[in-house]
């Protein structure tokens, strides 16, 4: 019990005195959920980030110094996300951060970025608000649903859709998708039928599926994370619902779906932002191959690649900005973000302006691919 008293006191002292600002390393803050509802995803992202950091350090680091990831858990809770941002910026003095997974957590951090004028790379959030709220310290590499809808628009003609139902998770991501995709469909003359939602923690979607089964649409767009997708496919099969299913959002983990939903997953199509199964088809094949082999070497679950690559790309983006800026300082890094071009695993990372004039945030446009699961295997949908 005695030692317990000294350790926090020491930690407090260090925090108070704000220890030496890492003279030998350049710190990058990582604000992710490692416990709580999003623990699985946050852990994938952090593991991807570590691969990037190790790779960069093996090649000599940035500006002659090694980069050090300061990783903190925001407990899937907005108040904690803000607290973690405070710690990373003020105690650890990280000049740039990555985080915070999911729009709710990222939005909570945004006021801190404004207050301390520190940039953050947003690797996984889909709410439109993040880049349209007038926060010039935000640089997002994952696509909001509006961008996804635009990308999908090019493929939609070839799929011959007539009427579409939506089954989305009841949060900003799902609702945003229903709204943005719905708008796009209407412009194309495709009618939109039901828009059903499911609560984030819900496990039984039989009621919604029964409703959709009875509707006259021939396609269902589903937006949610892999756990609920598995349940939906299983329950849809059990109900005998035979419509065409297309999922969106990029959090699908098709390997996990195949493993857990089995035959129920056959025939389903998915809009993804990364193709770990076909590295040659990605914009940066050598980087993809390196990332996947490194991931497997560390013994991680292959299914996690579809989320962890964002952590990998996020850190490489931050490192590139630091290199471009020439110094590890927030203001310089923020300016440098607009000038970088990183060959990301799913497309070039180049930030374009988004949001109100004078206070734009950065948004990059990743590629979007349509894959299909058939016979328990993943294939590119040939159109």
């Amino acid at each position: 019990m005695r030692t317990m008293k000294y350790v926090p006191a020491a930690a407090l002292a260090v925090a108070l005195l704000g220890g030496p600002a890492g003279a030998q390393t350049i710190k990058i803050g990582v604000n992710e959920p490692l416990t709580g509802a999003f623990a699985a995803s946050g852990t994938y992202v952090v593991n991807g980030a570590k691969i990037a950091a190790d790779e960069i350090n093996a090649k000599g680091g940035v500006l002659g110094k090694k980069i050090e990831l300061v990783i903190e858990d925001n407990k899937s809770n907005p108040t904690e996300a803000a607290a973690v941002a405070e710690k990373l910026i003020n105690s650890d003095k990280t000049p740039v951060m990555m985080g915070a997974w999911g729009s709710s957590l990222t939005l909570a951090v945004m006021p801190k970025l404004m207050e301390y004028e520190t940039p953050m790379v947003v690797e996984t959030s889909s709410s439109g608000k993040i880049t349209t709220s007038g926060n010039p310290y935000i640089f997002r590499i994952s696509p909001p649903s509006a961008v996804e809808a635009v990308a999908f628009r090019n493929i939609v003609d070839k799929l011959d859709l007539k009427k579409v139902d939506f089954l989305v998770i009841n949060n900003d991501w799902g609702r945003g998708t229903a709204e943005d995709f719905g708008k796009m469909f209407k412009e194309k003359g495709i009618s939109v039928g039901l828009v059903e939602t499911m609560d984030q923690g819900a496990q039984d979607m039989s009621a919604q599926l029964a409703k959709i089964k009875g509707s006259d649409a021939e396609t269902v767009i589903v937006t949610t994370a892999v756990d609920q997708l598995t349940l939906i496919f299983k329950q849809a099969a059990a109900l005998g619902m035979k419509k065409r299913i297309i999922t969106t959002g990029g959090s699908q983990n098709p390997d996990q779906i195949i493993a857990q939903a089995g035959a129920a997953a056959n025939g389903t199509m998915h809009l993804t932002t990364f193709l770990p199964w076909f590295p040659e088809k990605t914009p940066n094949p050598e980087a993809t191959k390196y990332f996947i082999s490194e991931w497997k070497k560390r013994g991680f679950d292959f299914a996690g690649c579809t989320e962890s690559f964002r952590g990998y790309d996020g850190i490489r983006t931050a490192a590139a900005a630091i290199e471009k800026a020439g110094k590890a300082e927030p203001a310089a890094i923020k300016t440098a973000m607009w000038d970088i071009k990183v060959k990301g695993l799913n497309g070039d990372i180049v930030f374009r302006k988004a949001g109100p004039e004078g206070k734009e945030s950065g948004q990059s446009q990743p590629n979007v691919y349509l894959i299909e699961i058939s016979d328990g295997k993943i294939g590119m949908k040939s159109l």
Partner: protein, 348 residues
């Protein structure tokens, strides 16, 4: 003696920003302070009326939403082609409205819930909080649902002659939270020491007996519910204007659990209990972060709770006071014996 300690404590807290410069710790203190205010309000119900409300976060969240919506403005379509449009008002008005509306909700919930007691009351309060969360989540036209209300402005005070002071810095927010906390503490303290307070405690001890001597159960409990909810609403408003984004996550059960932990570990029924419990459990993450993995932190959190409850079942403050009181009792016993002796001699 008691008020001396209170004044000293307040002064100590007021002096903190003068020597603590770390914004990370200041942030932790501010958010902890906000939850302590909510915990104090829960204590009023839990500690002084004996009713265990596990839905308290509903009032906190309602206060947060009311305050945010008042200061942001909204435009809501209603059935029948009606529309309610509200232009943004200053945040301070949001704060006032949050207190009032949360208090009103407290009134209704109080009247309905107090038909039942004990375990049933616990469950109905949990249900109320969940329904409010789902309304906030689904009534997107008003609350933005999961898309969140963001860009909420900080509270601004209009001082005659000084113009407008926007409370944006940590220092200013700290003092704001401290001021509200002190006010809440004072209010609860007055209430508890008044005849309403005695009525509440009478109900807690023995409801049948209390009713038989004329204490109006519904009125007493409802008043407690109103004040409790109003203070929680105030805390919610402070939260909205400090964190500056509100989404239905604010209603998460974990927030209720946090408040309950603060109250019971600190000692329900004691005024200082929530403050002590709040400081310990609110600041614990700060101390655990550097030394443990995230999962281990949670295990330690749960473990510490269990340990405190086993060793000091009545909570930290009452247990300490008990030890303190024992010594005083001995002193008093000696004194009263001496006194009765001397008065006996007088009357003889």
């Amino acid at each position: 003696m008691r008020s001396g300690i209170t004044i000293l404590t307040v002064a100590a807290f007021a002096s903190i920003p003068l020597w603590l410069r770390d914004p990370y710790l200041m942030n932790a203190l501010i958010t902890t302070g906000i939850f302590i205010i909510a915990a104090m309000s829960l204590n009023l119900l839990l500690g002084f009326t004996g009713q265990l409300s596990l839905g308290h976060v509903a009032f906190f969240g309602i206060g947060a939403y009311v305050s945010a919506l008042t200061s942001l403005g909204f435009d809501v379509p209603l059935p029948g082609d009606l529309r309610i449009v509200h232009d943004p008002w200053p945040p301070i008005a949001g704060f006032a409205l949050a207190v009032v509306i949360a208090g009103l909700c407290g009134y209704f919930v109080g009247r309905l819930s107090f038909r039942v007691r004990g375990a049933y009351f616990v469950i109905v309060t949990i249900s109320f909080a969940e329904v409010v969360r789902l309304v906030a989540l689904n009534w997107v036209e008003l609350t933005q649902g999961p898309l969140a209300l963001n860009n909420i402005s900080s509270i601004a005070l209009r001082l005659p002659g000084f113009g407008e002071l926007v409370l944006r810095t940590k220092l200013q927010n700290y003092y704001l939270v401290l001021a509200v906390a002190v006010a809440a503490y004072a209010l609860i303290s007055r209430l508890v020491k008044s005849h309403f307070g005695r009525a509440m405690r009478g109900l807690m001890e023995n409801e049948a007996l209390a009713t038989s001597v004329g204490i109006d159960v519904t009125r007493t409990l409802t008043l407690a519910a109103v004040v409790s909810a109003a203070i929680a609403g105030a805390a919610g408003s402070l939260y909205a204007h400090y964190i500056r984004i509100i989404d239905p996550e604010v209603f998460a059960f974990i927030n209720t659990v946090t408040m309950v932990i603060m109250v019971i570990s600190g000692g329900k029924g004691s005024l200082a209990g929530p403050v002590v419990g709040g400081l310990i459990f609110g600041l614990m993450p700060v101390f655990l972060r550097p030394i443990m993995t995230p999962e281990a932190q949670w295990i330690a959190y749960g473990g510490l709770l269990i340990v405190i409850l086993f060793v000091l079942p009545r909570g930290i403050v009452p247990s300490l006071m008990q030890r303190f009181a024992k010594r005083r009792q001995e002193v008093r016993a000696v004194r009263s014996v001496a006194f009765s002796k001397s008065s006996a001699e007088e009357h003889a």
